[in-house]
């Protein structure tokens, strides 16, 4: 009898022992000095891996670039060269003009999308953002195809105006650079500003009008100030993207134009002056860091919810003739400007030199030809790119998930860790590439380097996709699950995981498309006679060589890239939940 009670007591004791992992960690916590407890212990452990990764493959290469240039008076000397000053000035200048033009076109478009309901609205809005996920080489190829001297636009104009020579000579001009920038970034403005605008309560403007303000006055004094946060965010972002624009300047602008990014590349690859390249990298980092800080600052401000309404409630169908015309112009404009280049690209890849439809360019892809500028069949480049993309999804996804999980819980760590994790977004890929060839030269022959570069570039996108969703899970949801009987692990499985699942898909697709299209860093690292050429590099090389077959193969690969990225984008749209405050 006594034994039984003893046994039952023992059983009860054992049953009540905290033997699960969370309690184990609690146990560890209890052993730590009070200051370091639960708040920092577990998160730090999880963060170790991403932090180490960033330290080794981001900060270390960058610091090495610093070291290279601080050994001499190189910085002062280089920066004072008139050529360099011109390059820096041009970088700012074209970014500012690009941003201005994008805003000028993007704001009315954002307004129309935000306030009006019309058939095909959602599809059109998605189409407007497709350019953003396109690799720069694809965009370059598309614009060359459409607006080139032998392109359909010129052909049509020549026929119309009875001219012998091309009417629009846009190749390697500033105009085509600006056009490409607008093409890229219009979607950013439409999404960021339009999304915010759509959620704004229209009653505020109505209240202003009742109080006697004309529509223009109401816009100026009510709407515009409220739109300031997303406007500034969007402007900064577009400025950042055009400031660090590489592929567009290099491929569309040609040798006459140079920004800091392309100059870094040229100084290193063409002029064999790593010192100068390093100095320019420092400049680049400094500028982008300032821009990123500003952006982060404005991003916080725009996160304040201001009397939001559900989007559908604030939209109306277009009623007056003016409104209808505006919407029509919007539809035509977007189709014409944003969709046509890509369609033309696809179409031209099927058109032979004699003007007839052919699959010749596609058929040439698996063939490795002697004297070809790539020593491997182009199709192998496709395979390489896909392989890298899949691996990038895994590595960037894993590291990004760890980081997001920790950054999502409120803690004092977060405030200065989050900008640190976002830095790779602002650091130019070219600078990164330079850092790698300078620092990690031992790894240069390893296919790993490209993977590391891609992971770094994709990492901020993954975190950015996961973080808002994880942060959006209210603590009361987890508490409710716990009260209803879910153990901590069960809470994670029933609450966190399903909610984050969709975001994970979005993050995966982001990582995939970013890796596929990565050009800046890879152009430094990939060597032509190595087996790990990627599609963008191959396309670039084909584009830089004359000859219809080369050009055609470039188009064929670009089309493949384009289709995959577009499909990825459609997937992102399908699975993404959040509509406010993207990026």
């Amino acid at each position: 009898m006594a034994d039984q009670t003893a046994v039952s007591m023992l059983i009860r004791l054992i049953k009540n022992l905290p033997i699960n992992s969370i309690n184990l960690i609690n146990l560890i916590n209890l052993m730590l000095p009070k200051r370091l407890r639960s708040q920092t212990a577990l998160p730090l452990l999880l963060l170790l891996l991403p932090l180490l990764f960033l330290a080794a493959f981001f900060f270390y290469p960058l610091l090495n670039i610093f070291r290279l240039t601080l050994t001499s008076e190189t910085i002062g000397e280089v920066v004072s060269r008139p050529y360099i000053i011109r390059v820096a000035w041009f970088t700012f200048w074209q970014a500012a003009v690009s941003t201005g033009l994008t805003l000028a076109l993007g704001l009315p478009a954002a307004y129309l999308f935000a306030r009006f309901e019309f058939p095909g609205r959602n599809l059109l809005r998605a189409l407007a953002t497709v350019p953003f996920v396109m690799p720069t080489v694809v965009v370059a190829a598309a614009f060359r195809t459409l607006l080139g001297n032998t392109g359909p636009v010129n052909q049509a104009l020549m026929a119309l105006m009875g001219q012998e020579r091309p009417v629009l000579q846009l190749e390697q001009t500033l105009a085509i650079i600006l056009l490409a920038h607008i093409f890229y970034n219009l979607g950013v403005v439409i999404r960021l500003v339009g999304g915010f605008w759509a959620n704004m309560n229209p009653r505020m403007v109505e209240a202003a009008q009742v109080l006697g303000a004309s529509p223009w006055r109401a816009f100026r004094t009510v709407t515009l100030p409220l739109l300031r946060p997303p406007l500034l965010s969007a402007s900064l972002l577009v400025f950042l993207f055009t400031f660090t624009s590489f592929g567009v300047i290099l491929l569309l602008g040609g040798p006459a134009f140079s920004t800091l990014e392309t100059e870094i590349y040229r100084q290193y690859v063409n002029f064999l002056e790593p010192d100068v390249a390093a100095v320019l990298s420092i400049l680049q980092i400094a500028f982008t860091f300032i821009l990123m800080s500003l952006y982060a600052h404005w991003q916080q401000r725009s996160a304040v919810a201001l009397d939001f309404r559900p989007q559908a409630a604030t939209r109306r169908p277009a009623q007056t003739t003016l409104q209808r015309t505006a919407v029509l112009l919007l539809v035509i404009g977007i189709c014409l400007f944003l969709v046509t280049p890509l369609l033309t690209l696809a179409w031209r890849s099927f058109v032979g030199g004699d003007g007839r439809l052919t699959l010749a360019y596609y058929k040439a892809l698996p063939v490795s030809r002697r004297g070809s500028i790539t020593f491997i069949p182009p199709l192998a480049a496709v395979a390489n790119s896909l392989g890298y993309a899949v691996l990038t999804v895994l590595s960037a996804g894993f590291l990004g998930l760890l980081s997001a999980l920790v950054l999502a819980r409120p803690s004092s760590l977060r405030r200065w860790l989050e900008p640190v994790f976002m830095l790779p977004l602002g650091a130019s890929a070219v600078t990164l590439g330079l850092g790698y060839v300078v620092t990690l030269d031992r790894l240069r022959t390893s296919p790993l380097l490209v993977l590391i570069a891609h992971t770094l570039v994709a990492f901020p996108f993954v975190v950015r996709s996961l973080l808002p969703v994880l942060q959006g899970i209210r603590p009361s949801l987890r508490e409710a699950a716990a009260v209803l009987g879910a153990s901590p692990w069960r809470v994670w499985r029933e609450v966190d995981l399903p909610i984050v699942g969709r975001a994970l898909l979005v993050a995966a697709v982001f990582a995939f498309t970013v890796s596929l299209g990565e050009f800046g860093a890879t152009s430094f690292i990939a060597r032509p006679n190595s087996g790990f050429l990627t599609m963008p590099i191959a396309i670039q090389r084909y584009l830089s060589q004359p000859g219809a077959l080369n050009f055609g193969q470039a188009l064929a690969m670009s089309t493949i890239l384009m289709v995959v990225c577009a499909a990825g984008f459609v997937a992102i749209e399908r699975f993404r939940i959040a509509d406010i405050g993207e990026f």
Partner: protein, 347 residues
């Protein structure tokens, strides 16, 4: 911060924790639920010490202020969540969910997504979810707080009947005890059998709604219950208890234990006043000017102003709807019943 809080709830009772924001009532509720730990103290249920039992093993039900419905599950899936955790067989789960949907008046809406439901509907799903596993203790954290006034009034009555129905859910189980947290005195009075008024981490008074209303034990409780007529005063007589205030010498209920000269506060309950007819006399007579009369159905709230020694004191009194009163601006002679006046020592 909670200080020296101690209370018991009997099986089947509905106890309300009533108090202003920041008084600690929600903290207390969360400690009971196990979502937070107290530095000192114990929680016992039927003699079983639950202080160290983790939240997911306590078998309680809780409705959160923001409902905390799982957005990625339907209404039925939400309600079934606790049943799944307790591993009920699927058939019994379905039956129970259907039964609960009916009980809260949402039959047939099980397949709706959470964000398709209105505020009132969400609140009912939250309640059904908490009740589904037949918890021994039900914790409600300002469940009507997020609703607009009309809906709140309606749901207050429904809630009471749902809780009573849940109480009647025997099935061989004990009756559900409920702890209800709110800052709204009306809600507490409508739903609870016993109310504990909390202030800055302490329980100021505990009693039935009637007890609280009849004799609030501190000025804080009186003010919280909507009794505004609190006048500073000094004791000038002990038997009967007389207090000198801004409106004159007031005789209050009972004999004073307080020394003459003690400072404190006099509460004049809204029902304390009677109209003195011409030629009659009454205790605590005063002459006042009627300022405003507001009809509230069975009674009328009268705002008067008493002038004495160039000082104007407003009082809010309640009269039967049939009681004739002068128009606003007119004079009226009143007497205050001593048994409806009370003195609190201190200020």
């Amino acid at each position: 911060m909670l200080r020296d809080v101690s209370f018991e709830a009997a099986e089947g009772e509905v106890v309300a924790l009533l108090g202003p924001s920041g008084c600690g009532k929600t903290t207390l509720l969360r400690i009971i639920a196990g979502l937070e730990t107290a530095e000192q103290g114990r929680i016992t249920l039927n003699g079983q010490d639950l202080t160290n039992v983790p939240v997911y093993r306590r078998g309680f039900g809780m409705v959160f202020q923001d409902y905390a419905l799982f957005p990625h599950k339907t209404a039925a899936e939400n309600i079934a969540f606790g049943l799944r955790m307790a591993r009920w067989p699927a058939v019994r789960q379905q039956e129970r969910v259907a039964h609960l949907l009916e009980m809260v008046g949402l039959s047939g809406m099980g397949e709706r997504a959470v964000y398709d439901l209105s505020g009132g509907e969400q609140q009912r799903v939250a309640l059904a979810r908490a009740l589904a596993p037949a918890p021994r203790l039900l914790l409600l954290d300002e469940p009507l707080g997020a609703l607009d006034r009309a809906l709140r009034e309606r749901l207050m009555d429904e809630l009471r009947s749902i809780l009573q129905q849940a109480l009647a859910e025997v099935e061989g189980q004990e009756k559900v005890t409920t702890i209800y947290v709110t800052h709204d005195q009306e809600e507490a009075f409508a739903v609870a059998g016993r109310i504990m008024v909390m202030n800055q981490g302490r329980i100021e008074q505990s009693g039935t709604p009637l007890e609280l209303y009849r004799s609030p034990e501190t000025p804080f409780v009186a003010r919280f219950l909507g009794m505004d007529n609190l006048l500073p005063g000094t004791v000038v007589g002990r038997r009967p208890c007389l207090v000198e205030t801004a409106i004159g010498r007031v005789e209050v209920d009972g004999n004073c234990e307080y020394e003459a000269g003690s400072e404190g506060v006099v509460l004049i309950r809204p029902e304390a006043a009677e109209i003195v007819a011409a030629g009659q006399e009454g205790k605590n007579e005063l002459t006042a000017v009627v300022q405003d009369i507001s009809f509230r159905g069975r009674y009328q709230i009268v705002q008067i102003a008493v002038t004495k020694n160039d000082q104007i004191t407003p009082l809010k009194l309640s009269f039967d709807i049939e009681q004739p009163l002068p128009e606003p601006g007119g004079q009226v002679k009143l007497s205050l019943l001593p048994e409806e006046c009370r003195f609190y020592d201190g200020s």
